[in-house]
Each structure stands twice: as structure tokens, then as C-alpha cells.
């Protein structure tokens, strides 16, 4: 009896030690992280401290640490983001692909060394292949070469093209509407690009005359 008790006590003690060896508790890490964020960052130029406060989507995706989200949570985040998508006021989705190409090339904007009020770029080539002629493209996102052609868009204004045109606008406006933890910025929702710029990117992707589809 005594021995059993002592053994149980020893077991509990070693379990406690193992707990210590395993490292800090989740709560300790939470608190330390908040403290570290507070003490480490300061505002500079246009980069304000509120940039550190994640919205519900970023909170969930940060916590997931690269693992897939619970399906229900993912669906609710996607629904919330879909609700933010604003279709173009004048119903015009397609602009000038030449301007779109410039926006896709431009990786500037919204860093602490950028001036307020300057037009931002889309940084698209940082992550995607787009036009065939541009060989310097990143690989974080999928290739967008032949984007419209592969989806059978021969006339973006036709009713047949409507679903893919709407989806593409929505994806550019708020990528998290279709993939809760997408790596892609929410260009419309976050105010990175304006409607005219988004129209030009739409043309780059969907206009049959754009080099994305014609070459």
C-alpha cells in the first residue's frame, strides 16, 4: 500500500518534470508574444501599429501555423470575406490590359518607406507567372498564363463568361472569400488597389487580346 502510494507520488512528480521539460504553456507563450509585439515594434511613416492587430481571418490562419483549418471555421471565414466583395459600381469589369501589365509588374506600395497617397502596385509577378514574355516571376501562387483562354473566355462581356468574370473580380477583391488562408493579399478589401486598377488587371487576365491569352 505504502509502496504503491509512493510510486504514484513519484509518477506524478516525474510527470510534472516532463511538463516543465516540454516547455512553456500555451498561455505563457500567448502572453509573452503579446508583450514582445508591444515592446518591439514602433510606427514608421505610413506603417502604423494597428497593422499588428489581426482581423478574425488572420487570427485563425496565424494560429493554424500552416495546418489546414477546421472545415467549418474555414467556411465561415470564407463567407465573411465573400460578404465584403464589392462589384464595380458601373458594372464594368474589363479595363486596359496594357495598364494591367504595369500594375502586375509593380511591387511597390504600403511599406514604411513608401509615401502616402502614391498608387500601389499589385506585386503579381512576385508570386505568379502571367505573361509569357516575363521570365522573372515567382512561384508562391499558381501560373496565370492563359488564364482566360483555359477557362474558355472568348468574350468577357458574354453571359457565358459571367461566372468566371465575377469569380475573378471577387478573387482580386478578397482572395480569402474562396480560400480562408490564401497567401494572396485582399487587394480591393484592404484598399491596396482601386476599382480602375482592378479592371486593368481583369483585362490582363481575361481579355482575349491580352498577351496572357493571345501568346
Amino acid at each position: 500500500m505504502m509502496t504503491t502510494k509512493r510510486q504514484a507520488g513519484l509518477l506524478a512528480f516525474s510527470a510534472l518534470l516532463a511538463g516543465c521539460a516540454a516547455g512553456p504553456s500555451t498561455r505563457q507563450v500567448d502572453e509573452a508574444t503579446q508583450q514582445v509585439l508591444k515592446s518591439s515594434f514602433r510606427e514608421q511613416g505610413i506603417a502604423r501599429l494597428d497593422r499588428l492587430a489581426p482581423d478574425a481571418s488572420n487570427q485563425a490562419c496565424s494560429e493554424a501555423q500552416g495546418r489546414p483549418l477546421d472545415e467549418k471555421l474555414a467556411k465561415s471565414i470564407e463567407a465573411e470575406n465573400l460578404a465584403t466583395v464589392k462589384m464595380p459600381g458601373d458594372g464594368k469589369f474589363i479595363g486596359d490590359w496594357r495598364e494591367g501589365e504595369k500594375i502586375a509588374q509593380n511591387g511597390r506600395g504600403m511599406t514604411w518607406s513608401d509615401k502616402p497617397g502614391e498608387a500601389n502596385g499589385g506585386s503579381c509577378y512576385n508570386c505568379h507567372q502571367i505573361s509569357k514574355a516575363e521570365l522573372s516571376f515567382g512561384s508562391i501562387g499558381p501560373s496565370l498564363y492563359n488564364y482566360g483562354k483555359l477557362r474558355g473566355v472568348s468574350d468577357p462581356a458574354s453571359p457565358d463568361s459571367k461566372p468566371i468574370v465575377d469569380y475573378t473580380w471577387g478573387k482580386l477583391w478578397n482572395a480569402k472569400a474562396y480560400n480562408a488562408c490564401s497567401d494572396m493579399p485582399r487587394f480591393g478589401h484592404a484598399g491596396i488597389l482601386n476599382e480602375a486598377q482592378l479592371r486593368d488587371l481583369m483585362a490582363l487576365l481575361l481579355d482575349p487580346k491580352s498577351p496572357v491569352n493571345s501568346q
Binding site: 516547455g23 507563450v29 518591439s40 514602433r42 510606427e43 502604423r48 501599429l49 500552416g66 493579399p185
Partner: protein
């Protein structure tokens, strides 16, 4: 200046034809190999060794009594065990943070002032030389950051949180670019810093001489520019966030060989 011009000339001559992706990476590798015996970082290393031994600051003392974690004055092997916990400051410190402490206590040079100084100026220039030399003294040694102190364990877990923290107008985290194998931004290969070999290669390459700017960048400066491109607010020099990220990357890179100070684009 001369070196950076050479770099631009050589990089400009790289073939940008049909196989540009491969040949650019190969071209840079070739360029690095060409300079293997003459990495411009050596100029910074030589300067750093002088600065370590030179009596400087209000106290007119050298840094030779500085404890980088392996005892006062021990430089060899110190770099591959940083960041680590230091009992005297009761903090986990990386190389730059520890140098600030030593410069303040031994030489009387204000750590707060140096931390506020823009990169490439004043005492920040002193640090460039020092980190180049101190890291070079551990060249080819394997990373082995201590994780026995509770503060070191906590720093790793905080670093991991920060690595995955999405924020800013672009929703970027460190993990957006450095969480998977085989990714690129434009033509720049991105190491996966969550495990080896990426963590050892990525963490183990800084400090580095940057050909594009002709500057010697410490890990602190590298992380500062990462956060700028992440569209985050400004991380303080040697702040706990940057040190925790150093612990996270360095522990993930355990047993990777240090090639710092490396040669970078």
C-alpha cells in the same frame, strides 16, 4: 564601392535568355564561386577584428573581455550558439544585441543610442565589421543553439508565433514566403525556414555582403527589411521580436553549417 560596381557589371552580364530562371541562379552561383577567395565581406571582417581589439568609447576599452556566451573573450564558436540566454542581462540575446551590451558596459557606448542609429551610420557601421568578423570565426561550424534555459524555450515558441503571425494590409507572415519548400519571389529562391536544410542555409548565411547594395548586412538588418516588405510596422534594432525569430530559425537550423558572412544578391 569598387566591389559593388564589379558585382553589378558581372550580374548585368548574366544571360537573360530563354532559360533565364536557371541561368540567373547558376550565374549567381558562379559569381559566388569566383569570389569564394575574395568575398568583399573579408574587408569588413578585417575591420571588425581591429574594432574588437581597439580601445574605444568613453571608457577607452577594447571588447576583448566581452562574453559572447562561451566566456569572456572567446569568439570562436560563439556565433553558432547565438541567440542564447545571458545570466548578467537576464535576457536571450543575439549577436547584435550582445554586442550592444558589451559596447555599453565595457566601452561606455550607449546601447540605446546605437539601436536608434540608422543602418550604415555611426556605431551601426562598427557593428557591421564586428558581426562580419565574429561570424567568420565560426565559419563551417554547425549551429547548436542552447535550448536548456526556460527563457530560451520561451523565445523559440514566441519566435514560432511571430513567424506565423499574419498582419499588415497584405496579410503577410514570415511563413507566407518561407513556410514551404521550393518557392520563389520573382527569381529569388526562398529558403523554407521551418526546417532543414532551408533553416540552416537561410539562417546560416547572415551576416552577408550584399552585391546589389555593396553593404554588409547583419541578421538584424535582414529581418528589418523582411518586415518592411511584409508591410509591418518597424521592428526595433535588437528588439525581442527579432531575437525570438533568430532563436526559431537557428534552432530549426540545428546542425546546419554556418557560411556567414556569405555573399548575397
Amino acid at each position: 564601392m569598387k566591389w559593388s560596381l564589379w558585382g553589378l557589371v558581372l550580374l548585368g552580364a548574366l544571360p537573360m535568355a530563354a532559360t533565364a530562371q536557371k541561368s540567373t541562379a547558376e550565374g549567381i552561383a558562379e559569381y559566388r564561386a569566383m569570389l569564394a577567395d575574395g568575398n568583399p565581406a573579408e574587408l569588413f571582417e578585417a575591420r571588425g577584428e581591429d574594432l574588437w581589439k581597439q580601445a574605444r568609447g568613453p571608457k577607452k576599452a577594447s571588447l576583448q573581455a566581452c562574453d559572447l556566451g562561451k566566456g569572456p573573450g572567446v569568439v570562436k564558436g560563439a556565433f553558432v550558439e547565438l541567440p542564447r540566454f545571458f545570466p548578467d542581462t537576464q535576457r536571450v540575446q543575439d549577436l547584435e544585441s550582445r554586442l550592444l551590451t558589451c559596447m555599453e558596459t565595457l566601452q561606455g557606448i550607449s546601447a540605446a543610442e546605437t539601436a536608434k542609429t540608422p543602418f550604415g551610420q555611426g556605431e551601426q557601421k562598427t557593428l557591421e565589421g564586428l558581426v562580419a568578423w565574429i561570424s567568420a570565426e565560426s565559419r563551417d561550424m554547425r549551429f547548436n543553439l542552447p535550448q536548456s534555459h526556460p527563457q530560451e524555450k520561451l523565445a523559440y515558441e514566441v519566435g514560432k508565433r511571430l513567424f506565423y503571425l499574419r498582419g499588415g494590409p497584405y496579410d503577410f507572415a514570415c511563413a507566407s514566403c518561407h513556410g514551404e519548400d521550393g518557392k520563389r519571389v520573382r527569381l529569388q529562391d526562398l529558403p523554407n525556414l521551418t526546417k532543414n536544410p532551408g533553416a540552416g542555409n537561410g539562417f546560416g548565411a547572415w551576416p552577408a555582403y550584399r552585391v546589389s547594395s555593396g553593404e554588409l548586412w547583419s541578421m538584424q538588418r535582414r529581418l528589418n527589411d523582411c518586415y518592411r516588405q511584409q508591410r509591418f510596422p518597424y521592428p526595433g534594432f535588437a528588439s525581442d521580436a527579432t531575437i525570438a525569430l533568430g532563436v526559431y530559425m537557428g534552432v530549426n537550423g540545428k546542425d546546419g553549417a554556418s557560411i556567414a558572412p556569405a555573399l548575397k544578391r
